[in-house]
Each structure stands twice: as structure tokens, then as C-alpha cells.
């Protein structure tokens, strides 16, 4: 017989069974482990470790220099340990004078940057002049502040040219908007920053800047598992933007850079001879 003592219905109590033959326990299922699957990035159990929670599994970078702005991105999309694509286009061409990079949720970035493109065109038709980069990025910031607690995931850079020059803004899903000269976003950003901070100068030539951007993305893809594929490079100058490279395979780059150092590229330089 079950003891109908009211205290036994409380969730905090473990039901004490006197008679082991009677199967009358109400087994409550334990809360399932919450597994977050993001389009780009490693699977996180129970929300993941907050400190290393680079949920934007990608590497994108952009920097301002004397000839304009250079944007470079990788092209990998991963779902946990499965590579869903090695050919994603992470630079979104908003219009002929504005580019946006994608990090975080692909759908969020694509949708809201397309929305921004719509807004820019409407403004241009209504007001007869193009929207400035500052205004376009501010418009996007306003939207993201409104959706702040809705679970959007975006870490994008807006780069473009307007009458006052070329400008680079970083905008994320918290609603933060920052103007700056060098940004790198994504799980591989720390590796890219290492290379970028070391060689960046404002007075780089276009070729040097492209070379630097490619190297930085390569190093990030080499060390970060969530970045890889091909490198795509865009240059923004006063007449709009140009696609400098549409897809350089990072594996080819690995062997090319190893050869420059006189190495084979198989990582054997640390191997000790046993005999």
C-alpha cells in the first residue's frame, strides 16, 4: 500500500519504499542535457564553457589601410564534427558599395543583411543619395538591439565606401557597434589577430595587404578546426568593391608557405631521429 502522506508528493523527497515488492514509485525523468547545435561551430553541451564560447565557428577579418579596406573570410560550415560545407560564401554583397561578413548564424546574417540592402536601396530612391556606411551600420545595430534577447547569433562586419571615405564597423547580436581599423571575428579570430597585429601597417600596398589577409586566414584555418575551405578576399576602394580572390584552397596555401621556409609541410620538423 502506498503511504499517502502529503509530504511524499513533494519533488524534493525521495520516495522511501518499505515494501520492495510493490512497484508504485513515480519515476520522474531527469532533465535532459541541453545540446546546442549551431550551423558554424563545435557542439556545446549544457551551454558550453562560457570563457571559450566562440560560437561563431569561422574566421573573418577586415582591416583599413591607405588604399581602402580589405576583407578576407574562410568558407567552412560545420555542424559539430560534421563539415556541412567547404564552400560557403561568408562575404555578403549588400550592394555595389557595401559588403557584410557573416559569422555566427548563417540565416540570421543572410536575412538581416538582405533586409539592410533593401533599406539602403529604398533610402537611395527616396532621398536621391546613397546611405553612408555609418548610417547603414547604425540601422543594423538598431534592429539587433530590438532582438537582443531573442537568440540571434551574428558577429558581422559592415565595410563600405561613401563620400567621406572607406569605413569598417563591427556589429554583433548584443547590439554592440564599433568603428575600427582592424577586426577579426569568429573562432579562428585569435589566430588571425596574431598574424595581423604583427604585420599590419596603415601604408601597406594593395598586394601586400592581400598577401597579409590571405596569410592571416590561412594560419587561422590551420589551427582552428571550425575554419577552413578556401580564402575569399574583397577590396573596398573609393569606387566600390572588387573581388580580389574568389577561392584559394588553404591546403594549397599550407604547402606553399611551408615550401617558402624550405619545409615539406608534413609537420616533421619537430620529429626526432631515433637512430
Amino acid at each position: 500500500m502506498i503511504d499517502f502522506d502529503p509530504s511524499t508528493f513533494g519533488l524534493a523527497h525521495t520516495y522511501q519504499k518499505e515494501d520492495k515488492d510493490e512497484i508504485n514509485t513515480l519515476a520522474l525523468p531527469s532533465a535532459p542535457q541541453v545540446i546546442y547545435r549551431t550551423l558554424n561551430g563545435p557542439t556545446q553541451i549544457n551551454g558550453g564553457n562560457k570563457l571559450n564560447n566562440f560560437k561563431h565557428g569561422t574566421t573573418t577579418l577586415g582591416f583599413v589601410f591607405k588604399e581602402g579596406i580589405l576583407l578576407a573570410v574562410d568558407s567552412r560550415a560545420s555542424m559539430g564534427s560534421f563539415l556541412s560545407s567547404e564552400q560557403v560564401r561568408k562575404v555578403i554583397e549588400i550592394n555595389e558599395y557595401l559588403l557584410g561578413t557573416m559569422a555566427g548564424g548563417a540565416a540570421d546574417c543572410q536575412y538581416w543583411l538582405a533586409y539592410l540592402a533593401n533599406h539602403c536601396r529604398t533610402y537611395e530612391l527616396k532621398n536621391g543619395s546613397k546611405l553612408s556606411v555609418a548610417a547603414a551600420s547604425k540601422f543594423l545595430q538598431g534592429i539587433l538591439i530590438g532582438y537582443r534577447n531573442s537568440g540571434l547569433s551574428m558577429g558581422c562586419m559592415i565595410a563600405g565606401t561613401d563620400l567621406s571615405g572607406q569605413h569598417l564597423y563591427y556589429i554583433d547580436n548584443d547590439g554592440m557597434r564599433l568603428k575600427g581599423d582592424i577586426f577579426s571575428v569568429g573562432s579562428g579570430s585569435t589566430y588571425a589577430y596574431g598574424v595581423l597585429d604583427n604585420h599590419y601597417r596603415f601604408d601597406l600596398s594593395v598586394n601586400e595587404a592581400v598577401e597579409l589577409a590571405i596569410r592571416a586566414i590561412y594560419h587561422a584555418t590551420h589551427r582552428d578546426t571550425a575554419s577552413g575551405g578556401v580564402v575569399r578576399v574583397y577590396h573596398i576602394h573609393q569606387n566600390g568593391w572588387t573581388k580580389v580572390h574568389d577561392g584559394i584552397d588553404v591546403v594549397d596555401l599550407h604547402y606553399k608557405f611551408a615550401q617558402e621556409k624550405g619545409l615539406v609541410g608534413d609537420g616533421d620538423e619537430a620529429k626526432q631521429r631515433l637512430f
Binding site: L51, M176, T190
Partner: protein, 194 residues
Amino acid sequence: MDSIFGLQGSDFVIVACDGSIAHSILKIKETEDKILKLDDHKIFGISGEGADRNSFGELVHKNHCLIRYKTGGYMNLKETAHFVRSMYAQAIRSRDGPHQCNGLLGGVDQDGTPSLYWLDYLGSLQKITRGAQGYANYFLLGLLDNQYKPNLTKEEGIEIIRKCIKELQTRFLIAQNKFIVKIVTKQGIEVFTI
């Protein structure tokens, strides 16, 4: 993790801030100006994460402009401080919750009287002569209390701020290399980076 600190002297107010914006272990930017210029004689240093600092700052700035436009007049420091406090207070039990940022409002009135106000995200308001927001409190209040004396000159004030910056760089775990310092006097606002 922002450090905002300031002090008031005989005819000036100084507010200083660190320039770094960080995301977990990464420092995204080192030269961010967290001290907002409300008008030629008022500055508002805001400390907060993410968008709150930016969006609340914009809200205060534009509403301040609107009130001056509507009333056709000039708002002195006391009115501005109470106005900002009321903006914080209105938000406390709102749908989006309180504005997640704290501030230090400083400036000089038209007659040359300086004042510095400490504002909290829940709508606390206190007129102070020296103070800080955030972790900087732990490191700097002792130093500020020790070095402060009434009727400081501008040079003495700047010297105390330099000592504060040096203290943060020595003892604070988070490396903060660039600081932006703004001084308001009757002549206007001077800005320099240390």
C-alpha cells in the same frame, strides 16, 4: 570590466576611462571613447557591457538635446544629473529591465562651479568630489581619498589621474593600456590619451 573614474577640483572636473572593449578573452578594441560629450561643458562617462553603454548614452544625449530645444534654455549640471537619474529610474521595472550601465556625470556650470555625480543603473544619484565605477573602485578609492584635497588645481588633478592610471596598470589583472582623459573647465573640454 570598464574603468571609469574622476575627480572634481576648484574650477574643473576630470573624468577618465579605459579604452578597451573585450569579448571573453579577446580585446576587440583598445581606443574606444566611453566618455560622452553632452554639450560643451558636460561629459558623461558610462561603464557597461555590449550595447547598453552605447544605447543609453545615445538616449541621454538626444533627450538632453530635445529638452534644451523644447525649453529654449540651458540645463545646468544639477538638472542634467537629476534628468539622467530619472531615465535610469523609469527603466527599472520596465519590460526590458534596467539599463545595464553605470555612469559618472561631470561638468562645469555657466558660473564656473564644477560638479561630479555618481549614477547607478538602478537610479542612485550622489554628488561626489572623487569616485569611480566598476572594478576601478577597489583600486582607486583609497588612492583618490588619500590624494584629494579641497580646491585642487588643474595640474594637481591631472597628476592624481596619472597616479590612478599607473595604479590600475600595476595592480589590475586586466591589462588596460590606453586611457582617455577629459577635463571640463569654464573654457570647454580638453581631451587627451594616456
